[in-house]
Symmetry: D3
Subunit: 293 residues, 6 copies
């Protein structure tokens, strides 16, 4: 069960409104690699966890923290969409969304062109669970397979893509209040990348999982002729110059082999049998008209 | 530019038709972690690559191989949906899709109940770019950020989730022809997990990227107070027993710290300014009716 | 069966073209709370209606009217995207979409930046069944549950959200022709809010449904200990100051009770059983490698 | 900021596994009217709230409670997908997902046909944020307009549709453990319907909003000729027999009028101007070939 | 503006309920090539039409007829989901949806496994605007480009795919009432295929459009070296045996040429310039850490 | 199986960067009628083909060529998003994405307002498999029914809509490098329209399929009373002036008949039976409260 306090994990206060940046900041809120994605991913991984208790507890703790991150971003966006106290006194008509449109001056044209119109029409200057082009968040961004190594690898990815996007956004604004919050989030992403890498170490140290994942499928049942071969599917061989083309494989179980001119291992040419005539697919040769009785 | 041969990379021949398993086998074809996803992900990562040539070439080579995997799975599904030569002679009416429905016997009821109806109505006993519940593939499954470490971490994940799903499917069929193809694919996933892990090693060895990713954002600009803290957001402390709660962090740059009873670092309570009255949001107190002039 | 006349329910004539507002006006056409949504919702509610004939007839009548609203909006948008007669004579090159791009002057830059590019590339200056950020309409916006109270409550919502959005759009344009049409639509939404509220009254007066909906589920079978409790899931108690925290409940069947410090009613901690080893989920402790035979 | 306890709000323990019902129970978890929808809707309404503090606090409190409902449902589904302790001893092969498929007996055929294959292949016997046909949850189910009356009307709808669906599901299972949890949820929905109805009363009592919503748009600016007219768009007149066709409107501001044979109020026939020839739309008459210079 | 009569275009009466076929029949209602798709496509093509009046009128007439087809299918599905009068007397418990589940006998298991659970839980035995796997209809199925030849070609396709699917469904049921309605729809699709083919003839006869479409783009500005070449991108040459490999092209403007061993026409190898370092993409060689000031 | 060469089919080199046009150029890459759509459509049609070998080979050859088109567009977009060599020397800060935002001058405001923010935040100046409003490509754009006539009609449409969109884009840029590539693509679309028209001729000449499609459904089983009737569903009769209203139908099997004032052919008024009371739909009259036992 969950509880909340009305205090925020960290400040979410911009120095001044900026509806164009508000649009951009939707990406780490409701985008594929945003905070809703990690919140939902960690909560579902935790609830579905059938492994040791410390993992379940750890996953749910970070999932719970992420709700607070969603909260901060939503609030920051809502504030970027409102008239700032200072500007309000000077020229409310020009600095609010409606004012910008109605005033018709050039700066406002640009604002209107660059902002997300749904911030005015749909949410009434509130945040939305959507990304920077207005595409709604969806649950395909939630990954929970039941295999913790496969999932923790996803989590490292999510914290990497997320930190990458927030770092880019840091460079796309000069507002000190926004940057302060982003620097907090970047730091938490540093922790969370490290956390998931540490959890992967732990999983392997405890013998619960290893590469190739899932390790409990007997490797003797895979087609071991091709388990460590690199297939060069082009005429050029620059792909042969990397670590992946020779030497011991990272799982320590094989030697990489570079196949410079790979050949099909099959004579199968993909020919299919004839179609059931009652499905009206095109047959190899004309057939009588027919319907089921 | 691309070319093809009509030979397949590997056999895609089931021993007998099985429309219910055909439905399940759509997952590694058109599902989130299926072959279309890795094909598109690797091709886009390659085309967008601005790093050293050997990476670009390697990524595109594997992307090209994945087209052949899509080809094998599509063909296998089409064959699982057709009447097998042997059975056709005995009782065509009962073994085809339409026959199963029309015959009305109990076995056929089960087949109809369990198969994907679009395999009959929409594709006419062909494969579809959709998953095992019929949800169409979409390009959000394609990840290409321009940062190779963030992306290679995704690729390791994709090969892990993919190998996990194919291993599960191996256990859900007894058809020797299907299992033969799946064992080939599982082996290629073994290679590809190793390949991306090796590529991550190489990226780091060459000084191009490291943890925390992206490493070119100056860590001095993140809020370093919280860069290595675990926040325990629950009343229980089992999350404190893992590798992530103490010791040196995997990036070698910090010491994990376990915050057992974390407190908000802010007095921000999320209060927002008043809404522009012409947006008709609910205000703190009644306001006059108004429209823009 | 349906018929049409080529006369419009009301004028859909802007005074001059405005491609940026055309983008915004897609929201009440193809957005979540737009006219396509109510058209489809009412038609499906009507066709699926198993209640008294007067409801079925009424629902289908309003559904039919909504097709005319879709028609007006689509036409208005197409006209906002075309070169106006007056301007065409003066400077056709600059006022059409292509002209705006090619001329390269600043005003045109702004127009191009702010318009929906699909209005040029995809629809060739026609309306599209999509919203103001180009997200396509989808049938999840269609609600028809078979329970008329649940559905009429949705309908009141739809007419409220719709009227809210159109009122906001009224403030975002100064074109007299556009405003004239919007004021007609706002008036119809006034009617339709009242209509659904009246229909809810009628349903209850006739004993067909009441709160809590569905009223035909025996309330004796719900866990009546918590049927009228407010759970305060935060440390603050401002939520205790409202109508919902004390007094008789609106259904007249209970007394609101404010639970200031709610506690879990269960000792369930969510622990799950072990996973089937052939699904390769992470187990509590290492298990032997295994595949189905 | 958010915290959790590892105790559940209520028991989520089925008496025995039932993968077919697990599929159905995804609807109130990840469906359009499920618990994720209300959780996200209330949290976003709360974070975006610019009205009086008691509303913001109340909305966030119920949003926080809903996280616990998501938790219960996810756990219940995961348990419905696992082998029960008793059955495991008797016949593990037949009662688990993989066992059911491999054993090939008729009961298992039915289970496989009726369950969601992604519960085996994708989530490894865990819950997913998707509905009963496997369609992923998406953020369009989250409604937060900034206008509390419009939104509370949605909330009443959500609690009505949700209670309706859970009541139907109560009738589709006989498992006492499942029914116990559903009866708790039905009771909470009773409270929440009442809560939002009470909040609507309060909003109106405080003069913050009323019908027609939004009430701050001056009704004098709508086309008042049609504000209270019912248009009978069919040849039949059963729609004239209801409360909505005569008498004072529920907002108390008008008299319903029944228009039995409505006529278009416009001579507009929807004719459009010619297309810019460089967009290659079909013109009224042939034009010269042309491209921009 | 639109009107309706309560008479149906044609009978929509099944002989008996069949929830499994009801699921399948969702495809021609709410599937990609179903009646909602053509209804919306034709209406939008008509409203956006800037060509001669007879086309606009014709397109809107057929669009209006399609609403009646949606109506018939929705009603048929609702009836397939209800208890038939005869069976109701004998054994209501077993023939309704809930009864089937609760009775627990084998036939009912099959029904439950094969039906769409949302027909019970969500729509309460009503039709839904979704396809046979429950995927909701979306507006990407609506095509209206402003170019009537491009669009009429789509319309011919839609009537072909639609007639194909309905013909398949005819073979998947034996209910005389259902077949009667389907045979009506198949006949209308015969008309509509012919209608769009005739309209294409007319467009060309009137000089409004021709192949290659759009014909108003000057063909002199395309790269005419490759305008009539077939590129054989495989090692096999069976593709050289068809009408498309030699002879005059159907537009009468060129001669097909078969390129047996095509070569790239460019030396471009796709190398990209370096990334802006503040976007943190992987560079060709290590760069200093950096953030925008 | 597939191979690639690192040479491109044609040059993909813009003269200078243009992030706003890069956004627009996403349409023919990842839009509904873009190159990914035809690539996937042709590959799936080919893999699923059960007709004569020359068709299968031809379809797969063109599908393979389309991969090269995807490659060219992706590369062109990536180059439009980068700093050009010349400009880089002069003023890197202003011409890159980040520079544009940070510099804050007016030209840059416009660029930021008009570009796709995900080109900076998500892809790091790379192409994305999405359209010009950022909507992700999805597999519903892939059509493969098993009936080659139905599918080739789709293919003609795709090449028409695609050529139309690229022609429009040609008019929306003045960059010679971009125009050069577009003129190549327009020429290939000329070929491909002709190719599919030729393939349709061939199919019919070989007796494999004809109008009405599917021709193997016995036309005697359709309701032939309405097979060649035009229903005028409006009060106006301009629709009677076209080729589709009189004369021999294009399939040569009927005579068009114009029904000026069509009447319903049924007395069905769509009334439904009562709902199962345990589904809590609204009944015709009050019923007792009830739940399943």
């Amino acid at each position: 069960m969950f509880f909340r306090t009305n205090k925020y994990q960290f400040d979410a206060k911009p120095e001044r409104p900026d509806p164009v940046f508000a649009k951009m900041l939707q990406e780490p809120l409701g985008g594929q690699w945003g905070e809703i994605s990690v919140m939902m991913t960690y909560l579902f991984q935790g609830w579905n966890c059938r492994g040791p208790a410390k993992y379940k507890d750890m996953i749910l703790d970070i999932g719970t923290e992420e709700i607070a991150h969603v909260e901060m971003l939503a609030t920051m966006i809502a504030r970027l969409l409102e008239t700032s106290p200072v500007e309000a006194q000077e020229d409310a008509a020009m600095n609010s969304i409606v004012g910008a449109v109605m005033s018709g001056s050039r700066l406002e044209d640009v604002i209107v062109a660059g902002m997300n119109p749904q911030h005015a029409i749909v949410s009434g200057s509130g945040a939305m669970p959507a990304d920077s082009v207005g595409f709604p968040w969806n649950a395909k961004y939630t990954i929970a397979s039941g295999n913790l190594l496969a999932d923790f690898r996803f989590n490292v990815t999510a914290e990497s893509q997320g930190r990458l996007q927030v770092s880019r956004l840091f460079n796309l604004t000069q507002d000190p209040g926004v940057r302060k919050m982003l620097s907090f989030m970047i730091a938490r992403d540093t922790m969370h990348q490290n956390q998931w890498l540490a959890a992967i170490e732990e999983l392997q140290a405890e013998g619960l999982e290893e590469t190739p994942c899932p390790s409990n499928f007997p490797q003797s049942m895979e087609d071991q002729r091709v388990s460590y071969q690199f297939w060069n599917c082009s005429g050029t061989t620059e792909s042969g110059e990397g670590r992946w083309a020779a030497g011991t494989s990272p799982d320590g179980k094989g030697q990489f082999e570079y196949i410079g001119e790979p050949q099909p291992m099959s004579d199968d040419t993909g020919l299919l049998g004839p179609v059931d005539t009652r499905l009206y697919g095109t047959p190899p040769a004309p057939v009588p008209k027919k319907a089921a009785e």
